[in-house]
């Protein structure tokens, strides 16, 4: 068993002593871990600044979580369930009901390169449902209520020089829109998919990503919804032998966004990286859950989510589950979440859960920190001549940039950078 507790300690030290008395930096916290053998009550401390510690019953092993494509297997959540306890269920009720689409989102696929095809898949038509396994009520109703899924396929041995852009637009605020997209990358293909969500809807949109052997796939999911949009979704991927998968979730818009990004492996030698960047303003609830299922040997995973929060009742949740099963010898895995609280009134929850069922691994670590924009950082930079405004910008941009750079699509990086600049203006950064 290994974990990064000690490294994490160092990370959050940021110890400032000034004068004769030590000033501790408020708001730095660290989460506990959840080891496979420990299914008893686990105490989690939450990153809300100065907020009370919540003692919660941990949800048991992630391996025991129900997955199914049958609606009857998932009750309507009450809010007491492990996977729903942070979510605003009142606002999510409209996307949790077993209801048909009122006004669909429109999907425009840009990139007509040879080797890219756009087809349709009925409910039980493979490869639809070969990778996707609904893990909660939202996912299962979204799946079963979508009669026809979109199937974007990149042929084997095709290397795309340009991304495949999927422009997804909500056409009616408050109207239910179900959708399902299957992204399939053939053996030894290389492709970048950029799903950009705009407009408004009560959107329940699932994605399954099939990364065949030797393929190299990046999926960027951009949430640029209008202020009144609600979006739930589960984005599942299965990574083939010696294949690479990168998932980047960027959530800036929407009233409530709750995304589950999951990955597992079909063989050995796969690499998965999941990045996330979210920026919550007043009243926004942005929730990201990631689950890496190390179900086979000798695969690697790296999860890094970063968030910034500003304004009254800005709320973010990150729950990162990593399960290293008994069979997954030689696994190398790491996950980290960092949040930066820019103003009073915001709250970030951050919970890494690491379960390890075999000792024969390369590494497994997790880290989590939630901190306030720190006056001590400001003093340090200003004491080197840097004016206050520039010092603030340096710290916040530096923090967020790490994820922007992971996108790897220059045009998208530029627009995200611009969006972040606009966000930062709100709190005067």
């Amino acid at each position: 068993m290994t974990n990064s507790a000690s490294a994490d300690q160092a990370e959050q030290v940021a110890g400032v002593e000034v004068g004769e008395a030590r000033i501790t930096i408020p708001g730095m916290s660290e989460e506990g871990e959840n080891l496979a053998t420990a299914h008893e009550e686990t105490e989690h401390s939450h990153g809300g600044l100065g907020e009370s510690t919540v003692k919660a019953k941990s949800g048991g092993s992630r391996a025991d979580r129900t997955t199914s494509l049958n609606v009857a297997d998932f009750a309507v959540p009450t809010g007491r369930e492990e996977e729903w306890r942070f979510s605003p269920l009142k606002k999510l009720g409209r996307v949790l009901s077993d209801a048909a689409t009122q006004t669909p989102v429109t999907l425009k696929v840009r990139n007509t390169a040879t080797g890219v095809t756009h087809g349709e898949l009925a409910l039980a038509q493979a490869p639809r449902g070969t990778v996707f396994l609904a893990a909660d009520r939202a996912a299962v109703v979204g799946y079963t209520q979508t009669q026809t899924a979109d199937h974007i396929k990149v042929a084997a041995n095709t290397e795309l020089s340009e991304p495949v852009f999927l422009d997804i637009t909500g056409e009616a605020a408050g109207h239910r829109a179900n959708g399902h997209i299957v992204l399939e990358a053939g053996n030894h293909s290389k492709a970048v998919f950029v799903m950009e969500h705009r407009g408004s809807a009560d959107a329940n949109l699932n994605v399954e990503v099939i990364v065949r052997d030797g393929a190299d796939v990046t999926v960027v999911s951009l949430q640029r919804w209008d202020d009144d949009a609600v979006h739930v979704g589960q984005q599942d991927a299965e990574v083939g032998r010696d294949a690479k998968y990168k998932h980047v979730s960027i959530t800036l818009g929407g009233e409530v966004v709750r995304l589950n990004s999951n990955v597992r492996y079909s063989a050995e030698g796969g690499e998965a990286a999941m990045y996330g960047l979210y920026f919550a303003d007043a009243g926004q609830h942005l929730e990201h859950r990631s689950f890496v299922d190390h179900n086979s040997p000798r695969n690697s995973s790296n999860v890094l989510y970063k968030g910034a929060l500003q304004g009254q009742d800005a709320r973010t949740v990150w729950v990162g589950d990593v399960l290293i099963r008994k069979a997954a010898e030689g696994t190398d895995s790491y996950e980290k979440n960092q949040n930066l609280i820019l103003t009073d009134g915001a709250r970030a929850d951050s919970i890494p859960n690491l379960e390890i069922e075999t000792g024969l691994i390369e590494g497994a670590g997790h880290a989590s920190s939630t901190g306030r924009f720190d006056e001590n950082h400001l003093f340090y930079l200003m004491a080197r001549g840097i004016p206050e405004k520039e010092a603030r910008q340096l710290v916040v941009r530096g923090f967020l940039n790490e994820i922007v750079q992971a996108i790897g699509v220059e045009s998208i990086e530029d627009t995200v950078q611009q969006d972040l600049e606009n966000e930062l203006k709100i709190a005067g950064f």
Binding site: E11, V18, A21, Y380, A383, I386, P387, G398, F399
Partner: protein
């Protein structure tokens, strides 16, 4: 030739029990090229003086003045003080996540000089200064102080001092926690800045050890928020032999 003059400085901090006076009338004048050592027991107010000169918001000046060549330092914001030529090597440098050393050094140098440093010579200057301080080249790509050991942080403080070329540097217990090799490297840096830039230095220390490498012209003994005694280097030798007891006894009486 510049002068940093501190006159009858009184400084308080806010505590839960109300306002507490830490400095009770400090008077001190440092000229370019001079090295002053401030020594004293823990809690005597040495670090408060350092932080007050730099403008840390925790410390409230209730009376007295600090001037730099007749300019009122107390009227300046923290960044203005740095740009005016004051530098504080901090006792506990903070980690600044997400900001690389390279970016930080260039941004600060630009702010202090009022113009961006010339790209080619700047990179060379940084590399050269890092080599002299035995800082691994890899540090340039790391985030400011992130994951640095205590000794590495102190070297990086001195690196900044050498690159920014301040008129006056206040070294707040830069020697504490350094092993003998690091102490020598850091002392060499201070001596270089002193001889090359005619820097005035206020060396705050608890121990006499660093004075084997940096020779002060003036030694001030700080007790209970005041300068209790002043002298030359021989005063440090006496402290080495007898400790602070002589000063503490009357203060406690």
């Amino acid at each position: 030739m510049s002068t940093l003059a501190i006159k009858d400085l009184h400084v308080s901090i806010e505590t839960e029990q109300g306002s507490k006076e830490i400095l009770k009338g400090v008077t001190l004048t440092i000229k370019s090229g001079e090295i002053h050592a401030i020594m004293g027991p823990n809690g005597s107010g040495k670090s408060t003086l350092a932080s007050t000169i730099a403008g840390h918001p925790r410390y409230k000046v209730t009376s007295g003045t600090i001037t730099l060549d007749d300019e009122d330092v107390l009227e300046m914001s923290v960044d203005e003080r740095a740009r005016a030529g004051l530098f504080l090597a901090m006792q506990y440098p903070v980690e600044v996540p997400g900001v690389t050393m390279t970016n930080f050094l260039r941004t600060a140098k630009t702010a202090i000089d009022g113009e961006a440093p010339k790209l080619r010579t700047w990179a060379k200057d940084v590399r050269g200064a890092m080599e002299k301080l035995k800082i691994d080249a890899d540090f340039a790509n790391r985030n400011v102080n992130e994951g640095f050991s205590g000794g590495e942080k102190k070297r990086v403080e001195i690196l900044q001092m050498e690159l920014f070329k301040p008129k006056f540097a206040v070294l707040d217990e830069t020697d504490s926690g350094l092993d003998i090799d690091a102490l020598r490297v850091v002392s060499d840096g201070v001596n270089r800045a002193h001889s090359e830039n005619d820097m005035g230095t206020l060396l705050i220390t608890h121990y006499t050890r660093i004075l084997n490498y940096i020779t002060p012209q003036f030694v001030h003994v700080f007790v209970d928020g005041r300068v209790a005694e002043q002298g030359g280097p021989e005063l440090a030798d006496e402290l080495e032999a007898n400790g602070y007891d002589r000063f503490l006894a009357p203060a406690q009486a």
